[in-house]
């Protein structure tokens, strides 16, 4: 089975999410700095507090901004008549194989930014776990849902015949 890479606009989406998270951290840091200044905290206390919060905050921001590119590089997915395969993970690399005949239902999800970028997430439910194909173009998501529905019906028929 040939595994596909995600669409380039997915990387754009992940960078938007990363930017929002980094902005939130920076904003919190700025608010703390202003509060200390307004409250007239002694210089030592201000420096100690800002260093205490600043070092981990900037490390986290660095990681947040690097992750989308690495995640995008490692992500691959694909499906055929019998199985869906998803490979993902930067440090811990996962490879999940889900048989098509185990699918109970699938869902397409969209947030506001995803709507603007015409992207959708796909969640595949089985009798026990939910698996997600991170983010696809809405067109791709619709196609996979239709395709898997059809494949599931024909596979169930095949399995019934095998049992007989």
């Amino acid at each position: 089975m040939e595994l596909k890479k995600l669409n380039k606009s997915v990387l754009k989406l992940w960078y938007i999410y990363a930017a929002i998270a980094a902005f939130a951290i920076l904003l919190t840091f700025t608010i703390i700095a202003i509060t200390l200044n307004v409250a007239g905290a002694p210089g030592d206390v201000t420096v100690a507090t800002l260093l205490g919060i600043g070092i981990p905050a900037f490390v986290i921001i660095g990681i947040i901004l690097i992750m989308p590119a690495l995640r995008y590089k490692m992500y691959a997915w694909g499906y055929d008549d019998k199985r869906i395969t998803v490979k993902q993970g930067v440090i811990f690399r996962q490879r999940v194989v889900i048989p098509v005949c185990q699918i109970q239902d699938h869902h397409r999800t969209q947030g506001p930014i995803m709507m603007i970028l015409k992207l959708s997430g796909v969640i595949i439910s089985t009798a026990g776990s939910n698996f997600s194909i991170s983010t696809l173009t809405t067109e791709e998501a619709d196609r996979i849902i239709d395709d898997l529905g059809g494949k599931l019906e024909s596979r169930i028929e095949e399995l019934k015949n095998e049992e007989v």
Binding site: D44, V47, A48, L51, G52, I55, P56, K82, R83, G89, I91, F92, R93, Q94, R95, V96, V97, I98, P99, V100, C101, Q102, T126, A127, G128, S129, N130, F131, L159
Partner: protein
């Protein structure tokens, strides 16, 4: 549609009354304790409190009567129907052939009024938090319904003859008995576990405080002799106190929660019954059992005991409120070497096989943990030392902080190494004739046995270095409740993941 038994109203109202009186008692006690002088004001507010109590209790009465009026059930030709709820009305329809588990529950109040609660579950994961059908009827009627539904789930159709012949089971039919001796042993082992972990915590505290005393020259802790004497006494006292609580809890759990614990076979069904104050009788088909899980805590492991649980969709959590005993328990306590005998009688298809593979390396069990622990400890040290340097804190305090951070990290690392050694010994897998036996866990050793047909997805997890060495961890998703359906077998040969993928029903 037949209404529930009227006993429901009386038992529910009595239960509400007892609950309300307890709340009222605590409320009054609070008021009495707050006022130091004779509670003159209390008399003036007493009618108000009683009035409010009466109004609230009237609401309960109205709700219970409305629930009784609007709820009911009906057994049609092919399905069972149930209506319930007052504000949020719920109508459930369950075909007989889809009946998965039939459970009878009887609390002490139910017994006083001669009623019982029957829950019928479809095994759907979408509604696993509660059963689809709930019927409150006279205890005898519930017994008859249990028999009838057991027969109907096989045939799928209800004939005009109605209820089938009742299958009477006695204690002699029991395949396993949780005897008083076993219950006492179970209690003693739990006490030993509590004492062991309390002692461990005590020793760790003594060491940490000793280091602080040594570096900071803390005179408040007395001389070294006094320090060790007091520390020993406090640890011993804590061990006794916690062991006492453990003893009381375990005695209630085992003697009351598992009172008359029986496992019986009824054709294609297995029936598990237990409980003194709240009696449960749970019936479900063998083919609904997806896996059997054998667990051994560290103390149980040292003494050669284990517990056996069932993994069944929908079955384990369908009443939600049960605190006395777990619904998924098959055998609460037994000798480890008796597991084969017990399972051969109850579930012969789920006897665990011997490990065919083992963890291939020890280092991966600790490598990432050591790295993360190092980073976290480093960040904590920097975060702690920077302000101290800015504020020019004395060198002895700085040394104490460094020692405590390094000491805490060392203790955590020690625990992790112990857990990793146990994981290294435990992790493994056996595949024979479509049956998978997975061995996993660290301090708690777990063995899960399931059929390959119940494997719904396979996952392999690796890192770049492990990939080069041909090592991966295996995650198997099985058909059970969403929370418990992952079985992780760590640090195995890469080829094992491919072998397991071959077992998936594609």
């Amino acid at each position: 549609m037949k209404r529930f038994d009227k006993g429901y109203i009386y038992s529910a109202l009595l239960s509400d009354l007892l609950g309300s009186l307890v709340i009222l008692f605590f409320l009054m006690e609070e008021i009495m304790l707050e006022s130091e002088t004779p509670p003159v004001g209390l008399l003036s507010i007493l009618p108000g409190i009683l009035g409010a109590f009466a109004v609230i209790y009237l609401c309960f009465i109205t709700y219970r009567i409305l629930y009784y009026m609007t709820s009911g059930y009906q057994l049609t030709e092919k399905e069972i129907k149930c209506n319930r709820g007052v504000l949020y009305r719920r109508r459930s329809v369950l075909e007989y052939k889809n009946v998965h588990a039939i459970n009878k529950k009887q609390t002490l109040l139910h017994r006083i009024f001669g009623i019982a609660v029957l829950t019928v579950d479809s095994g759907s994961t979408n509604t696993f938090h509660q059963a689809e059908i709930t019927i409150i009827e006279k205890s005898r009627t519930v017994d008859a319904l249990v028999n009838e539904l057991n027969a109907l789930k096989e045939s799928g159709v209800r004939t005009a003859e109605g209820a089938t012949e009742e299958v009477l089971l006695s204690e002699d039919d029991s395949l396993y008995r949780f005897t008083s001796k076993s219950k006492m042993l179970y209690t003693l082992i739990n006490i030993a576990s509590t004492a062991f972990f309390t002692a461990l915590l005590g020793v760790m505290t003594i060491i940490v405080l000793g280091i602080c005393k040594l570096i900071l020259q803390l005179d408040s802790l007395g001389t070294w002799g006094q320090y060790f004497l007091f520390a020993f006494m406090i640890t011993l006292g804590s061990m006794l106190l916690f062991s006492f609580f453990s003893f009381v809890g375990c005695m209630i759990h085992s003697f009351v929660g598992y009172h008359k614990f029986n496992i019986t076979k009824r054709g294609n069904d297995i029936q598990i019954s237990y409980g003194l104050l709240e009696r449960h009788t749970n019936t479900f088909s063998y083919n609904r059992i997806k896996a059997v899980k054998i667990s051994q805590g560290i103390v149980q492991r040292m003494l050669g005991f284990a517990s056996i649980k069932l993994e069944v969709i929908g079955y384990t959590t369908n009443t939600g409120k049960d605190n006395s005993a777990e619904l998924g328990v098959l055998v609460p306590f037994c000798k480890y070497n008796e597991i084969g005998d017990i399972l051969s009688k109850v579930l012969p298809g789920f006897i665990p096989e011997k490990k065919q593979t083992r963890a291939v390396a020890f280092f991966p069990f600790v490598s990432w943990f050591v790295l993360i622990l190092g980073i976290v400890s480093g960040v904590v040290l920097i975060e702690a030392l920077l302000p101290m340097l800015i504020f020019k804190v004395s060198s002895s305090v700085v040394a104490a902080v460094i020692c405590s951070v390094i000491g805490s990290a060392a203790v955590v690392l020690l625990f992790k190494i112990l857990s990793a050694v146990l994981s290294y010994q435990n992790n493994g897998i056996a595949v024979t004739n479509g049956k998978i036996t997975a061995y996993y866990g660290g301090f708690t050793k777990n063995i899960t046995v399931f059929n390959a047909k119940n494997l719904i997805a396979a996952e392999s997890v690796t890192t770049p270095l492990r990939e080069k060495a041909g090592i991966s961890s295996l995650v198997m998703h099985i058909k059970t409740n969403a929370i418990t359906n992952e079985i992780k077998v760590h640090i195995q040969q890469d080829s094992l993941s491919e072998e397991i993928e071959q077992l998936l029903t594609l």
